[in-house]
């Protein structure tokens, strides 16, 4: 045995250069996604709106959930748009490394940029959809408040969760393509397990705790209560309420940080081998 050691040598380029790469890859991802489609980008707004319409008619009207609050429809719309972001970001993020196979096999650059650019394209779509929501909110005569600024860190938290999950999934997807099918099912499960179409107050105490372990539920609930429920204090069910203590807020945030750290750890450990495994 020789006493030499293997060293990793992905050359570190400047931060600005990495941002440039991120920008170019994201803009190309964006272009490819809507290439050869007549309506192009309009689809990314239409899809959540159509899903909203269907679910509103079924659950809001047929099952009368719309009667519980005058904000049911807006609440549902916010939930659907946020979940669509999470679902899109993680699905595209998961396949991103394999999809960029040709670049990975021939070029050296920080691999992290690939899932970041994939999740960023989903984030751009979220931005557009949020402006649509803003329109609906204004139409409902909800008066903007200064504490709405808290939405920004909440959206950053949501992006961090989506990125963390994408990093874990994309690393696994290089080895096991089944992850694609499994994640599709898990997303369905997550959709119905999160209080998107029904109010979180419908859940028994233990289920409330369970759903607030999920940082997605927490960010969605916090954004909803910031925007909609200021005049309806009892309806503000957040992580703190579910866990029965103000410190309960920290639990889902802790889960979010854990997910992102785990994702970064796994991804960085496996990235030197991506080129020979994709």
């Amino acid at each position: 045995m020789t006493q030499t050691k293997a060293t990793g040598r992905i050359p570190s380029r400047s931060f600005r250069h990495q941002l440039r790469i991120l920008h170019v890859l994201a803009s190309v991802d964006f272009k490819l996604k809507y290439a050869d489609s007549a309506l192009g980008y309009v689809w990314s707004v239409l899809k959540p709106l159509m899903l909203f319409t269907v679910l509103y008619l079924v659950f809001g009207r047929v099952f009368h959930l719309g009667a519980i609050s005058r904000y049911y429809s807006l609440s549902l719309l916010i939930g659907i748009v946020l979940f669509t972001f999470f679902s899109d970001a993680t699905s595209i993020g998961m396949t991103s490394i394999v999809a960029r196979e040709s670049l990975i096999r021939k070029m050296t650059f920080p691999r992290l940029i690939i899932p970041m650019s994939a999740t960023l394209t989903a984030a751009i779509t979220l931005g557009v959809n949020l402006t649509v929501i803003a329109g609906f909110v204004a139409w409902n005569r909800v008066v903007p408040r200064l504490d709405w600024l808290l939405i920004i860190p909440l959206l950053i938290e949501l992006y961090a969760i989506a990125l963390g999950v994408s990093l874990i999934l994309s690393t696994l997807f290089v080895r096991f393509r089944d992850i694609g099918q499994i994640w599709e099912l898990l997303l369905q499960l997550l959709f119905y397990a999160s209080p998107i179409i029904y109010p979180v107050g419908y859940l028994p105490g233990w289920a409330k705790k369970l759903t607030f372990l999920n940082p997605f539920t927490q960010t969605m609930q916090d954004i909803r209560s910031l925007v909609l429920y200021n005049d309806l204090a009892p309806n503000r069910i957040t992580a703190a309420v579910a866990f029965g203590s103000p410190a309960g807020r920290l639990i889902p945030i802790g889960v979010a940080i854990t997910l992102l750290s785990l994702g970064l750890f796994l991804f960085r450990r496996e990235q030197p081998w991506f080129a020979e495994r994709v």
Partner: protein
């Protein structure tokens, strides 16, 4: 810290794990749970050491499957070696396996943008170099066509043109002469001469032994991942010829 070496490669070994029956889906695991996947370690490189000095043109030769491209990918930090150490001093521009990883669904303009940026150009530099890249590749009429409509020769010309227009100290060239026509080869050789004047370092993988002897100072001969000879290019080419003769004679049944 500055050294006179562009590459200092010490005792590098690389192996790939090849499952005999590769199981990438759980279904296969469920259907044949007791069928053991047997793994084979294919050793692509065995204890390879050499140094390339700055400003040197260094050839890597050997028969197909001898590990040349694997070695180049390790030099470019695309693969990671299992053992050994590689020190690089300088900016590397890789040209691997006939290309730089084009996206066939994008046109040449966007591919140049992606690859140029990955290789270190900023937007202003990219704009300034764009016409030069297209002109060198002689693809002015085709810049807005998708790469999937390009012939392999056109793709190669574009890839080479990008690889040499980005800032670099070390150029890694894998089979750049393989599908280009004679006039493009002549153009390549002209750029080689320019790089030599500019003091660039070049690693040149090729089956064209004449080009290797003409342009490379020294060379490395690989056979089944084992370094057989390192030294002045002409000597290494002689060693390669001897290897070929030995293989041919051992293949001839003796009566």
């Amino acid at each position: 810290m500055t050294s006179s070496y562009a590459f200092d490669v010490r005792n590098v070994s690389k192996s790939f794990v090849l499952p005999h029956h590769r199981r990438t889906t759980f279904k296969e695991v469920f259907l044949h749970p007791w069928q053991r996947t047997t793994y084979e370690r294919q050793e692509a490189l065995k204890d390879v050491s050499f140094q390339v000095e700055k400003g040197e043109f260094f050839g890597i030769i050997g028969p197909n499957g001898s590990g040349k491209s694997t070695l180049l990918k390790i030099l470019a930090s695309i693969y990671r070696q299992n053992e050994g150490e590689v020190r690089v001093d300088g900016l590397v521009s890789p040209f691997i396996e006939l290309g730089v990883g084009f996206n066939p669904a994008l046109n040449a303009r966007d591919n140049i943008r992606v690859n140029g940026t990955l290789l270190g150009l900023n937007r202003r530099e990219l704009e300034a170099k764009f016409d030069e890249i297209v002109a060198f590749a002689e693809l002015e009429r085709f810049v807005d066509q998708k790469l999937k409509n390009y012939s392999s020769g056109m793709q190669l010309r574009l890839a080479y043109s990008i690889a040499i227009q980005v800032p670099f100290d070390i150029l890694l060239l894998d089979e750049v002469l393989a599908v280009g026509d004679a006039s493009f080869q002549e153009k390549c050789f002209a750029t080689f001469r320019r790089f030599r004047e500019e003091g660039k370092t070049m690693i040149f993988v090729s089956h064209d032994l004449e080009a290797v002897s003409q342009h490379c100072d020294r060379a490395l001969l690989l056979d089944l991942g084992v370094p057989k000879a390192v030294g002045p290019a002409t000597d290494v080419i002689d060693a390669y010829d001897a290897l070929g003769r030995a293989a041919r004679t051992s293949a001839v049944p003796t009566t």
